[in-house]
Amino acid sequence: MSDSDNKTSFGAYGGQYVPEALMPALEELEDAYERYVLENEDGFMDDFRARMREFGGRPTPLQRADRLSERYDCEVYLKREDLVHGGAHKLNNALGQVLLAKYMGKERIIAETGAGQHGTATAMAAAHLEMPCEIYMGRTDVNRQRPNVYRMRMNGAAVNPVDTGRGTLKEAINATLRDWSKSVETTHYVIGSVVGPHPFPKMVRDFQSVIGTEAREQIREQAGRLPDSVLACAGGGSNTMGAFHAFVGDEDVGLYAVEAGGSTLEIDEERGVAPNSATLSTGTDGVLHGAMTKLLQSGDGQIMESHSVSAGLDYAGVGPELSYLVDIGRVTPVSVDDEAALDAFHRLSRLEGIIPALESSHALGYLERAAGPAADDASGQRPRAEEHENLGDLVVVNVSGRGDKDLETVLEETEKRDLEAAPDVEVFDR
């Protein structure tokens, strides 16, 4: 590991801002992380990799996207995390943590979930490893992500609806932390992204780093060189760090974290609402859920409600390592709004036959904005726009998940808009 940081933090970001009761568990986890993950004690990482291969379906392909390459006048490769068991990169982390909990002798798994992707991944991993599992999920999310609730139940996990607040991800994390405060001796909390107190951000990153490690090898083999840039959407940032980690040392590779611009980047201070989740682009430093990082918060320090058409990006915080990498200029934060993400969802579905998660559609939406026909001069010469120039000639986009889960949302949101790439969705008799 080559972290330019001390043990528990990344520059000023990270740390362990949690109730004292949890600290011993974090110490224990840190120890287990170092032994099992970093040092492969008892062949842990071999076991993990074998399971990700046989149960999880790794490696995932790196696919040249022919139509996108043509449209954007550069080589576009897609890292196909949508093909991982469960339909997203989330299993890389969930299986890693549940397996680690097993090696640590824990008896029970808890996790939070927003859209349900991390919850379903955790429930799958827990079933696979015979661990009792409880998932906290905001009441609002339970009601709007019903299929994922069913999937978790079918994998044998209990789903605990959280009734506080707006009933979404933030509240689910709070509730899970509260459970953990009580049950910490026997229970492992499988956090769903590169957030939370140390060692979670590093550990989750390490489990997810297989994305970039594979992609780096694959692109060298398939294109003969490293890419000019790597694009990934960023909610908490686990697919982002997973895709970036292997490339951080390759200084010529541009790393773009694409955040959810929601409806606008402007904040409604009055109501304490950010109509976006563009934490890296617009957030300020603070402490949330155990770590110092960039946040969407009011001047007083109250955490704002965030918003995105994509539930998986709808979070007011972000992984501390990303905050750090943005501050030192290694990662470029950009954002695209709901509309551009929806348009990109339809474009990939139509042009490439891959229905991406709405989260991943943000990364694709940035590609359109930076390199799409409209970005370039309309003259015959097609001189490249600056953003296009920056992306370079060989671009890897991480397709972090598949969009089956998003169909209802996309239909609803598409009806409200006039989108270039959308099919006209006839409504059949009901």
Binding site: V18, N174, G286, D300
Partner: protein, 274 residues
């Protein structure tokens, strides 16, 4: 330990001490002022005022709800400090809040402005439930500079080296968490309390037990087990949420708890003075 702080003195002089928590701004700051006075009258020796944060990860449902009411009423750090500016009670006051609220006070993320303003307002100490000893250096230094105590929590899981570290940093009192979990009134005193007090017995610092204390009898039991004080929060917040004219009820509850604590103390020797 050099000279005793206001907080330490309040505990030692009123031993066994009653420490009361309520959420500032629940339901309004004006009412909070009334309630603080009532608790003071009822015999609270220290009063913790919660400054609400939107993500209270250490609180159970009772205090979560109080925090929501306070936020909805528009409580801000500034209006909180103005309340404290105007309060005039015998019991020293502490602020209990989450670390981000401290960091964000002032124009840049930093702890100094909050501590300075807290000292100005006459607060005697700070409790931060999401700030373990490992991350506390900046705040500890600022508190020292401004003569405030920074109270640490000792959990049932705190042991060995960690306990040493924490106890070497404690000022005011050690907040002994009676059981694992979040705040909230419960009907019994846990075995963990006894264990914790035993582990702490060799440290010469006041120990107050909180998390789940709701009745005089609990207070008695806890003090009997060796605590120097009991901390009561959710049981008081419940009264505010449920009763008409909560001030009277709060005063009576404080009396009951203080009496309980005293009962507990009758069976234990007075703590040695340093």
């Amino acid at each position: 330990m050099t000279t005793d702080s206001d907080i330490e003195r309040a505990i030692r002089e009123n031993h066994p001490a009653l420490i009361a928590y309520i959420t500032a701004g629940d339901p309004t700051l004006e009412e909070t002022a009334e309630y603080v006075e009532a608790l003071d009258r009822g015999g609270a020796d220290l009063i913790e005022l919660g400054l609400p944060f939107s993500e209270p990860i250490a609180e159970g449902p009772t205090i979560q709800a109080a925090i929501n009411r306070s936020l909805e009423a528009g409580t801000t750090p500034d209006s909180f400090f103005e309340l404290v500016d105007d309060l005039d009670v015998e019991a020293p006051l502490l602020v209990m809040t989450y670390y981000n609220m401290i960091l964000q006070y002032g124009s840049e993320p930093a702890v100094e402005p909050f501590v300075e303003r807290a000292a100005d307002a006459g607060l005697a100490g700070i409790i931060v439930p999401d700030l373990p000893a490992e991350e506390s250096e900046p705040l500890r230094e600022a508190c020292e500079d401004h003569g405030l105590d920074l109270v640490f929590i000792v959990a049932p899981t705190t042991d060995g080296e960690r306990l040493e570290t924490i106890m070497s940093q404690v000022s005011g009192f050690a907040y002994v968490q009676a059981r694992l979990g979040t705040t909230g009134a419960r009907a019994d005193v846990s075995g963990a309390t006894h264990d914790s007090l035993t582990r702490l017995s060799e440290y010469d610092v006041p120990k107050a037990v909180g998390f789940g204390v709701s009745e005089g009898d609990h207070a008695a039991e806890i003090v009997e087990a060796g605590a120097d004080g009991v901390i009561v929060g959710s049981a008081l917040v419940d009264l505010i949420a449920e009763k008409e004219g909560p001030a009277t009820a709060l005063e009576a509850k404080a009396e009951e708890l203080k009496a309980g604590a005293r009962r507990g103390a009758e069976d234990v020797p007075e703590p040695e003075q340093p």
